[in-house]
Subunit: 192 residues, 3 copies
């Protein structure tokens, strides 16, 4: 009985809800190019906001645990297989954001491919538009809780909690702080 | 068909839901002075918590995208026209918070007009109350993702991601860091 | 009439919903050792994710305002009486996390008892597991908005907004920054 309930709670019901959310998502956004290349776990609170359209391509076994938000303003967001979004991550994409495979995107991480323009004093900020900068997050990157990402992060890099990435983080490094700086170099894989 | 669905998804349904949330909000909080001076977009998860009453005045065309929380402890919160709250912002107001017009309040920003008192070692923190400091956010200010605001922000100022504003930020500046410091002066409008 | 509505909105309805959420929680997680030692306020969005089981012990008069997430990977999470979680806190527990009595855990605080291992370049990060470090938060500690806690915090200590606690914070101190450093010593209670 307990085993049955557990299986219901952690396997059957989430899988069923995820499948329903997926259908609902596709139904409501016919003008968005949505592709799921395999099974994907879409948790509660998954939000897509794409009034002007855009593209969302998600690899197999990606997991969106809860309250993931993707805001597309005509942009293309791709997510590699096996990547996990835990709670409350927000991705705002007006040009292109590519997130690699097997990444960890932790609690309340923000990834944005543009800054509000604000330097023209004679035009309201909201009317000045954005400076766009497409973003690539490499495979196996780890973005810890509340990091804010507005530049590239290399493969296997680790971005510390509450860090703000304003300049590219090289692969195989640990970066922390606001603005984020490299604080450690990681060992590279041994040549096979 | 696609155009119709898109219009339903991005215009009709949100507008209808927003109107229902507005009515529900006013119905449930008869002891709070709630005023909407024009059309306002109230997204899912909008939360008002005001057990002791208070006032909430919202200008025209304000947008609360998702999971906005206002906690009033008898305080007055005013929001100028055209301001946008994206995702998960929290405003806790015990005295007075005035947010200007056309501001951007990004992902998980916190705005609080008081600090917990914690310096009396003989009284539990939760029983020591607050030091209150009314807060004014100027027109066209931009508060980037996860900034925490416990002091004034001037008009047209930009507060960087993950910054903590503990002292007033002057108008027409960019401030970043924790505690936030001015890192750039912006050009002022040319005299007309 | 207004008084009645107010009492319904702020007392009756939340209490009823909280009781229903509690029952639902216990029903759905028969393999988790869940204990509530007295009345507890469980707000909307309360989430427990414990696929491998674990234990959750909550003292009397604890308040989970909204969108609290506890992720147990076989770990034990205890929360002392009177502690308040405001909005969107996330606790991820694989070994043991003890949170004291009368603590304040503010907006989007993250508490984690382990780091992802990431130093083996030949194994994917998600397959390297965690370095576990049980965490204790002392009584009357205050964790301000968006703090990230991956080490102990002493009794009566205050952790500043957006701080990252990577080394233990002693009791009766104020710590801020990323990584967090002590910026003030607080007076100790007078001997009785």
């Amino acid at each position: 009985m307990r085993q049955l309930l557990r299986r219901l709670t952690y396997l059957r019901v989430p899988r069923l809800m995820s499948a329903l959310r997926k259908r609902w998502l596709i139904l409501r956004h016919p003008h968005v190019d949505i592709r799921f290349d395999g099974p994907v776990q879409i948790g509660p609170g998954f939000t897509l906001f794409a009034p002007e359209g855009g593209a969302l391509h998600v690899g197999p076994y990606v997991e969106f645990r809860r309250d993931f938000v993707a805001e597309l303003h005509g942009g293309t967001l791709t997510i590699g297989g096996g990547t996990v979004f835990t709670y409350g991550a927000v991705v705002q994409c007006s040009s292109r954001i590519d997130i690699g495979a097997r990444c960890v995107v932790a609690h309340a991480v923000t990834i944005v491919d543009g800054n509000h323009r604000f330097r023209d004093p004679d035009v309201p900020v909201l009317a000045q538009g954005y400076d766009l900068r497409p973003i690539t997050i490499g495979d196996d990157a780890t973005l810890l809780a509340k990091a804010t990402i507005i530049a590239d992060v290399g493969a296997r890099a680790v971005v510390g909690a509450n860090a703000v990435v304003t300049k590219p983080v090289p692969p195989f490094t640990v970066a922390a702080g606001a603005p984020a700086r490299v604080i450690e170099e990681l060992r590279r894989p041994s040549p096979a």
